[in-house]
Symmetry: C2
Subunit: 298 residues, 2 copies
């Protein structure tokens, strides 16, 4: 039994009736569970979190497109968040009993089906992309819906599936596979924003830090402290404990202590179990020794 998480981002965050129909479309597919959905009116965007096996998740994404293509017209869509399509981004995330390669294959099948059924151009991203210039979502989405026709006519933007022109109302969609993303913050017992910013710069990939860390320093004005706010994009290769220990050590160099850390939203149990294994120096541990894993897998 395989378990895949899918987090479609849809360009509608204001009309409650449409959001409800999008959610219902996902729920209507047998074998799929809609774990969460949230809408941001100023972004005019909704994020759905669903899980199931490959076939069920693919069917749910197609059902979601059915409603989104009918209801959303990007020509009249306004919002703060950049977007390229009615269903803007669809990542598949391996959770259990499935490899990243399995999710890459699923992204390909789903992209082909969307292009064929709806005439929407599809770009593959992250692990599903074999083109380095088209791995990052930001690179693919640059220019947004309004600049899409011109971008697609230029070099290097023939879509992976579908026509070489945007869908009139639904634009294009970006579909791919990636590791589960962990939103992780570490709060420091100081009000010195420069310390948080220096530590963030030290640990993030873009300025020389860990390969799978995005980070920024912020002030939490109401508490009089600062925060190193992070996205961990591959907790297997850049584990949470290594990031925590590095932040703690760097903070100490400024005479600053870690006050606390926080996990925002969902986290796969493996990401926390690996921290327990690390600090407790546990050798030879197997995931099936966790009672709940044994229950789920047996």
């Amino acid at each position: 039994m395989s378990l895949i998480e899918c987090i479609p981002n849809v360009s509608e965050g204001r009309r409650g009736d449409v959001i409800a129909r999008l959610a219902d479309a996902i729920r209507s597919v047998a074998g799929v569970r809609l774990l969460d959905h949230s809408s941001d009116p100023s972004h005019n965007r909704s994020v759905f979190t669903l899980v199931g096996d490959a076939a069920a998740v693919e069917a749910a994404v197609l059902a979601l497109f059915d409603v989104a293509v009918t209801e959303i017209d990007l020509r009249s869509h306004k919002g703060e968040h950049p977007r390229l399509g009615a269903v803007d981004v669809v990542p598949f995330v391996p959770i259990e009993g499935v490899t990243m390669a399995g999710c890459v294959a699923l992204a390909g099948r789903t992209g082909a089906a969307i292009a064929e059924r709806f005439g929407i151009p599809v770009y593959l991203y992250e692990e599903a992309s074999s083109n380095p210039a088209r791995k990052n979502l930001e690179d693919i989405r640059r220019g947004e819906f309004e600049g899409l026709a011109a971008k697609m006519a230029g070099d290097g933007w023939v879509p992976d599936f579908g026509p070489r022109v945007p869908h009139a109302s639904a634009g294009a969609s970006v579909i791919g596979a990636r590791m589960a993303l962990i939103a992780y913050n570490i709060n420091l017992a100081t009000d010195r924003l420069d310390v948080a910013k220096k530590i963030a710069a030290g640990i993030r990939h873009s300025s020389g830090g860990y390969r799978y860390v995005k980070a920024a320093g912020f002030k939490l004005d109401d508490r009089g402290i600062v925060q190193v706010s992070m996205n961990l994009t591959n907790y297997e290769k850049t584990p949470i404990y290594r990031v925590f220990d590095t932040v703690k050590r760097e903070a100490a160099r400024y005479g600053v202590q870690v006050l606390e850390s926080e996990i925002v939203g969902l986290i796969p149990s493996a990401a926390l179990l690996s921290a327990a294994e690390h600090y407790l120096q546990i050798e030879g541990f197997k995931a099936e020794q966790v009672l709940e894993n044994k229950l789920r897998l047996s």
Copy 2:
């Protein structure tokens, strides 16, 4: 949906056909999963691990007694492990969606049903016992099957359920509720047995240590190192990380390092997640933020 673990210990570890019928009796109950069973011929004893909700687990225990009472006669039973009854001990352990009080109530219901259906005297133990002299399994079992009739005729041993005489062939059974037990070892980078023994004495309850730790020091001859071998009997009140840190600190006092630790058998995820929370200083974390918990509970 509640989840209870039950670990019946049965006085048969040699006759494969009987062991298979005991396992089948458990498996025959809808809503119960037999996660594991193992038999020790020299102990002449088998341990079954099953899970389910309260009603299912109670039904499985009764089905197990059905076979055990028919097949096992303690008058001709020999083995190294102390025992009082054909089904010797039945602990119920709360795992999820159920409190300890719920497991105590289940132990009472099951004990009453066994006494009534099979005429077997039942003693409640651990959390299910309100008598301090009858909380510990060892105290109840002292004298074993062979001494049981005399013991029951004396003061203080009127059973909680059933007749005041042993069942002729099945003896008596001890039924109760307890926290999940964690078998946890810490290996030290030294061959000095005295260090392992001193540390074990320092952390175990019986000689002044933590309330829910049993510990002993051993030599691992084949590896030339020593081990502090432990049972953690309540990981909520005496958490694994506190025990680990204490052993590490005590070892350092002798100039000895912790080589590694190991979890033997199953462990509830909460016991390891609490270690991750501790070392990562995570505040405000909720169990339902773990993706797999959310899946299981939603």
